[in-house]
């Protein structure tokens, strides 16, 4: 069996899905791409058992067959090959694949396609459509706040909740939380799923720049994303998501409004002087002044800065982990933000002043206990 394909085209498609393949998969066959050839179309599948990604491209061929090709060798060969049409010949009896190029011939030992795990089907699925722009925004706004603690699987993914009026994306690591809501995506039936971080990362990297439509189908165990010529199917995290609405304080009346860039750059400077492993900084808000300070007792380093802000409420002192706060602020796209506080040991709400037309963003940071000195 033989087909002709552009080397750069093939590489581009493989790059979309290559991230799925793990370095040390449970079953060795998963180090391969599955090539399925059917007349003029080549379907390539990568999988890590929890998720699979499928891409399709047009080729010149008139036969049918499939084979599993070692991913690493193939990708490296294509990366180092100048752009040109290449001829790929596959021998299904000896499981080998040969690439003929202007530069020479490369023969790869392949494996039987039948050993490659079947990609699951999604049955009894609900379906929604979302624009790539909305999905990309939802992912970038939430994914950074997910947890890496494997002992609490629910928090390693992003929670997506559909309702009749809106769709909510939530992420948290137990110390901070992001709730990203869109009113331009809705579904007649209420449902919720937890999508693993890896799947969302893969999606983010392969979403096209031009705004098109992404179709999401899901049942309680799997979700299926489809756009352009790419499909992604992943197993969902089957856990109960923490009760996030319950921890959002409603009576935070101590309001601070401040320029985001001022606060962010101040935090970046001050945190240099905080303890490197705990990154704790102290906010002291008096009148219309915010004083940020940090000290590292091990090295006797200390720093403090004063920023002017709009403040409505009692004077307060509260401690935060600067690293978490910097990440949070970095992901907000607003010139001004409001910080709503209540007490030094209760959650602080951080809300961007300006949001997109259909967006509603709320973030929350838990303070660190500070000793009143």
């Amino acid at each position: 069996m033989k087909f002709i394909v552009s080397s750069s085209q093939l590489l581009k498609h493989l790059n979309y899905i290559n991230g799925v393949i793990t370095t040390n998969p449970v079953v060795p066959i998963l180090e391969n791409f599955l090539f399925e050839i059917e007349k003029d179309s080549l379907t390539v599948i990568a999988s890590d058992l929890n998720m699979s990604m499928i891409t399709e491209l047009e080729i010149d061929c008139n036969e049918t067959g499939s084979i599993a090709v070692p991913a690493k060798i193939l990708i490296e060969t294509l990366r180092n090959l100048p752009d040109q049409p290449i001829t790929v010949s596959i021998d299904l009896d000896t499981y080998s694949l040969e690439i003929s190029s202007d530069n020479g011939r490369f023969r790869l030992a392949c494996e039987n396609a039948l050993d490659f795990p079947k990609v699951p089907e999604v049955s009894n699925a609900s379906s929604i459509n979302i624009s790539t722009e909305a999905l990309a925004n939802a992912i970038t706004n939430t994914i950074f706040a997910t947890s890496s603690d494997e002992l609490r699987p629910a928090m390693t993914g992003v929670f997506m909740k559909l309702s009749e009026t809106n769709t909510t994306f939530v992420s948290t690591d137990g110390h901070r939380m992001v709730r990203y809501r869109r009113v331009d995506v809705a579904s007649d039936e209420e449902s919720s799923i937890i999508i693993p971080r890896k799947a969302l990362n893969m999606l983010k990297n392969s979403l096209p720049a031009e705004n098109t439509n992404v179709n999401i189908e899901f049942n309680p165990s799997h979700a299926f994303f489809r756009f352009d010529k790419i499909r992604l199917i992943c197993r969902l995290i089957d856990e109960r998501y923490p009760d996030y609405e319950n921890v959002i304080p409603l009576d935070n009346n101590n309001l601070v409004v401040i320029r985001k860039s001022d606060l962010l750059s101040s935090l970046k400077r001050i945190s240099i002087y905080a303890n490197k492993s705990t990154n704790q900084v102290r906010f002291k808000i008096t009148g219309s002044e915010l004083q940020i300070s940090a000290e590292d007792l091990d090295f006797s380093n200390e720093a403090n800065e004063r920023l002017s802000c709009m403040h409505d409420g009692e004077d307060i002192e509260i401690g935060f982990n600067a690293k978490l706060l910097i990440e949070l602020l970095n992901n907000l796209q607003s010139a001004e933000i409001s910080i709503k506080l209540s007490e030094p040991n209760r959650a602080a709400l951080i809300i961007p002043k300006e949001m997109g037309d259909n967006e509603d963003i709320l973030t929350l940071a838990m303070p660190v206990m500070i000793s009143s000195r």
Binding site: D149, T172, G174, H175, R176, M177, P242, D243, V247, N275, S277, T278, Q280, D296, L297, D298, G319, N321, N345, R346, A347, L364, M366, P367, V368, M369, I370, S371
Partner: protein, 409 residues
């Protein structure tokens, strides 16, 4: 030669190091707290059968009692001795008072242990005599804290420490520069720090009893007999010690262990003891405004086989997290159906910081409760209140010999 004078090397290495040591520190504190105790043979240590002497008064020492000796044996030597179980908290409070006075006065100091200090006074003799200055500091400490303290002054830590030992109790001594060798020469080799009973016995067998003899031996011979330590020993015998006064030694871990009066197999009791010890350590951590990233649990079976296991955490000082993890570790560790003699808990990888409140695990009530508990402990002492689950299942074990260890390395 004129150029050489500029870099007067002898002057650069000529240091003035002061060693200060509180005399029978734990005993002195007890006497301060109860006047009736002074002048009596006192032993500080566990009351139980297996307790060891942590400290003893000079009166008890005349009977041959010394620290690290089993209390049982000490009582045979000195049946009239009074046994006090000791109050680490009070000791560290008094130690802190002394430290503060030294911090105020000295340019640079090292706190070597709870009752020992090294001060680097190099250069201060240009203004007023080092010895005069040190002597005034010593008297100030005695006047303000009422604790007896001895000191020794010389050109390095080693000789100063030996000098303090010679000056004790309640005295002061100076070894003038150049006199180090003649000062050490007539002393017993046991007086040199690092020579313990084992090394001393070994040296006695070789016929070495005085430092002088050690000095006269060729260094190669000592190296052949004692390995790497031979040369260090030889240097020490000559009064050579270049180790610097290290200003501040950060405490790298805190730990505590409990030896049971009777070996036990009662898992409920063991878990409760571990939970209590962890709670105590966690409070200590919070009091110093620190967090830990590593907890380890140790058990010693009755056959003295000792096993330990550790677990990493994200920085925390929460009772709930630490106790939970300690008990988990214990369950994994306790695999043999054998009696247990000792359990220990240790928190390491400490860093400055306060507890990061969790969104879902901490309730506001819990945060407030813990805060209130800590306030009470700070005001009335660490043992004023504890979790019910940490109260030992068997009242007999309340006398178990619990020792807190502060380690810096």
């Amino acid at each position: 030669m004129g150029a050489l004078k500029l870099f007067n090397t002898t002057d650069a290495v000529s240091r003035s190091v002061l060693h200060m040591d509180l005399d029978a520190f734990f005993v002195s504190v007890e006497c301060l707290r109860d006047r009736r105790l002074s002048g009596r043979p006192l032993i500080i240590g566990g009351r139980s059968d297996r307790g060891v002497v942590a400290a003893c008064s000079y009166e008890a020492r005349t009977f041959g009692v010394h620290s690290a000796m089993p209390v049982k044996l000490a009582l045979q030597l000195c049946p009239d001795a009074l046994i006090i179980s000791g109050d680490m908290e009070a000791y560290s409070r008094f130690s802190g008072m002394v430290t503060e006075i030294i911090r105020e006065s000295a340019p640079m100091f090292e706190k070597a242990s709870i009752d020992e200090f090294y001060l680097d006074l190099t250069g201060m003799d240009r203004f007023f005599g080092c010895y005069q200055w040190a002597s005034e500091l010593r008297h100030r400490i005695m006047k303000e804290t009422h604790l007896p303290i001895s000191m020794g002054l010389s050109i390095n830590k080693l000789v100063s420490k030996v000098a303090t030992g010679e000056a004790k109790p309640n005295g002061q001594a100076q070894v003038v520069k150049g006199e180090e060798r003649s000062f050490l020469a007539p002393l017993s080799v046991r007086k040199i720090p690092m020579i313990g009973k084992k090394t001393a016995d070994f040296l006695y067998e070789m016929g070495i009893t005085r430092v002088n003899t050690l000095c006269e031996m060729p260094v190669e011979m000592l190296e052949a007999a004692l390995g790497k330590n031979g040369r260090i020993l030889w240097n020490r015998a000559h009064g050579i010690d270049n180790s610097p006064v290290v200003p501040y030694v950060e405490r790298k871990s805190i730990s505590t262990e409990t030896t049971f009066e009777n070996d036990t197999i009662d898992v409920k009791k063991l878990r409760s003891v571990i939970s209590g010890m962890t709670e105590k350590l966690a409070f200590l951590l919070r009091k110093e405004n620190k967090l830990t990233a590593c907890i380890s649990v140790k058990i010693r079976y009755s056959d003295f086989e000792t096993v330990s296991r550790q677990s990493r955490l994200s920085y925390t000082s929460s009772d709930r997290v630490l106790i939970g993890r300690a008990l988990d570790l214990f369950d994994k560790l306790y695999s043999k159906r054998l009696m247990i003699r000792l359990v220990g808990v240790r928190l390491s990888e400490l860093a400055y910081g306060s507890y990061q409140i969790s969104l879902f695990d901490d309730t506001e009530e819990e945060i407030r409760l813990n805060d209130a508990m800590d306030r009470m402990r700070i005001k009335y002492g660490a043992s004023v209140l504890t979790r019910a689950s940490s109260i030992f299942a068997d009242p007999a074990t309340q006398h178990a010999d619990t020792q807190e260890l502060y380690k810096s390395f």
